[in-house]
């Protein structure tokens, strides 16, 4: 479904996946592949089943139909969404890191250093900031020596500057480890500017492909509307877009006014 002609088998192949819960179809006919070394963004409105899809890929839930094939021996590092540590639980950061499996202190230190948070080693988890918390989660995911990082909204509860840093960190981690990344994101700016491939779902698969293609897809525009289109305009202004096909006009009066022509 994508243009990569890699000889290697994909890390993950999802075929015609369906999942129901309480008589409601959460996911249906989902196809996706994750090739080695690519950053795939998973987008979709709230309730679209993004987290459900991720949980299925992680093996936490069993799909009702379809199949999920993982490359044999695949290591997945997982960074869950919105993790709240019970305040009654005294837990220093290094202990949190070691909970993931049989890892040495040295490995934990190294992972924490890699995400630039070595100074919170002995700090209580309850006392670190939102940004530090996400770094700590990323460090724990890295301790799995992952071939694939699965990140469920990794910049939640992080301020704007912190978000940029965190995204840069995820990118450098991806390059250093040569791993693939599957990331759930709400940040359309980022998705459209810094990912290899976008998968947009809303219960079913809306569209998938390169960011530019997806951003022009009618089903994407129908989901995210003019705001999404405007984001693309701001971030891809070096392209000569033609958005007339779906009948939408890019910039309104409130737009920053990127110089565009619209067919």
């Amino acid at each position: 479904m994508n243009g990569l002609h890699s000889a290697a088998t994909p890390l993950v192949t999802v075929r015609d996946l369906g999942f129901n819960s309480g008589g409601r179809e959460i996911l249906q006919h989902i196809d996706l592949t994750i090739e080695s070394g690519e950053l795939v963004s998973l987008i979709g409105p709230n309730g679209a089943g993004k987290t459900t899809l991720i949980r299925a890929i992680l093996g936490l839930i069993r799909p009702d139909s379809g199949s999920i094939t993982k490359r044999p021996g695949l290591h997945i590092g997982y960074m869950p969404q919105r993790l709240v540590i019970e305040p009654t639980l005294p837990l220093p950061v290094h202990r949190f890191l070691a909970l993931g499996g049989a890892v040495s202190q040295g490995e934990c230190r190294q992972a924490l250093a890699e995400v630039g948070a070595e100074d919170i080693w002995a700090t209580q988890v309850s006392q670190i900031s939102g940004g530090e918390f996400q770094r700590m989660l990323l460090a724990r995911a890295l301790l799995r020596k992952p071939d694939l990082l699965v990140l469920d909204e990794p910049v939640q509860a992080v301020d704007v500057n912190g978000q940029t840093e965190l995204y840069a960190l995820i990118n450098s981690v991806k390059d250093n480890h040569g791993c693939s990344v599957l990331m759930v994101s709400h940040d359309l700016h980022l998705v459209m500017s810094a990912t290899d491939r976008v998968i947009c779902i809303n219960g079913h698969l809306c569209c998938a492909g390169h960011p530019e293609d997806v951003s022009r897809d009618p089903s994407y525009l129908a989901l995210f509307g003019e705001a999404a289109a405007a984001n693309v305009a701001l971030y891809h202004h070096h392209h000569d877009h033609h958005h007339g096909l779906d009948g939408r006009v890019l910039d309104g009066p409130a737009d920053e006014g990127a110089p565009h022509s619209h067919g």
Binding site: L58, L60, P90, S126, Q127
Partner: protein
């Protein structure tokens, strides 16, 4: 020291040492009401034991385990209002137990001893039972310590990392049932949960790691047993409730820890 008093102290300490670590998990996992529900189902176990003619303590263990597994199953299946289910089970089993006990006839049954504990009547055999069960429970808890802690922090993350969630939760339920059955002798059905929760909550202020909290909870629990028994002798008050009152005083005093510069203070 009188022999019965010595046995009481030993029994209480034996239970407190297990209740500390287990109670810490009960607090971290917000299962206080769950512990209460298990304890209440114990009375049903006693009644069934009496009716069917087997050891009531065995009945308690069986009833606790059955309720624990049923609750775990219910909670697994769907995210229904957990506290409502617990409330129904908790008071339902207690009422059923009281009715069943009436059916069994009062021959040889001192209901108050079950409801509020009868630590001063602990026999040498009870002591062996308490320490045997305590050792098994502690060993079980030690065996699942890391996965249980990981699941307590975040179940999905732990599961994704390969922690055996189902098996770990099973063992945890088993340990809960064992400890409730053992602790019942000391403080009784109505106050078992207190022995789990109060020392652990008091220990929070002094601990910087989960293990510290577990050990400190055990120490606070043991101290509460000694202080409670002493107070009970001195003031001629019921032993089980006196132990819980001692733990309660310890809990309130623990709030002074931050002002005394305790390292674990938040």
């Amino acid at each position: 020291m009188d022999e019965f008093l010595l046995r009481a102290v030993l029994a209480g300490i034996g239970v407190a040492v297990v209740a500390g670590p287990l109670g810490s998990f009960v607090v971290w996992r917000r299962m206080a009401f769950f512990g209460d529900t298990l304890a209440h189902s114990a009375l049903l176990g006693i009644a069934i034991g009496l009716l069917l003619g087997f050891n009531p303590t065995l009945g308690v263990f069986a009833a606790c385990l059955a309720v624990a597994l049923a609750l775990a199953g219910i909670c697994d299946r769907g995210r229904i209002a957990g506290d409502t289910v617990l409330g129904i089970m908790s008071h339902g089993t207690l009422a059923l137990g009281l009715v069943a006990v009436a059916f069994a006839g009062s021959a040889g049954l001192n209901l108050l001893a079950y409801l509020f504990g009868d630590i001063l009547a602990v026999t040498a055999f009870d002591l062996i039972w308490i320490y045997g069960v305590g050792a098994v429970a502690l060993a079980g808890l030690a065996a699942i310590w890391r996965p249980l802690l990981a699941i307590t922090v975040h179940e999905d993350l732990a599961a994704a990392e390969g922690a055996p969630v189902r098996r770990t939760n099973m063992v945890f339920m088993l340990v809960m049932a064992l400890v409730v059955a053992a602790a019942m002798k000391v403080v009784g059905i109505l106050l078992v949960a207190a022995l789990l929760i109060i020392p652990a909550a008091a220990a929070r202020h002094f601990a910087r790691t989960p293990e510290q909290m577990a050990v400190i909870a055990a120490v606070i629990g043991a101290a509460s047993v000694v202080a409670g028994l002493a107070g009970s002798l001195w003031l001629d008050t019921p032993a089980g409730p006196s132990i819980v009152v001692a733990a309660l005083i310890g809990f309130m005093a623990s709030h002074l820890a931050p002002y005394l510069g305790a390292k674990g203070a938040r």
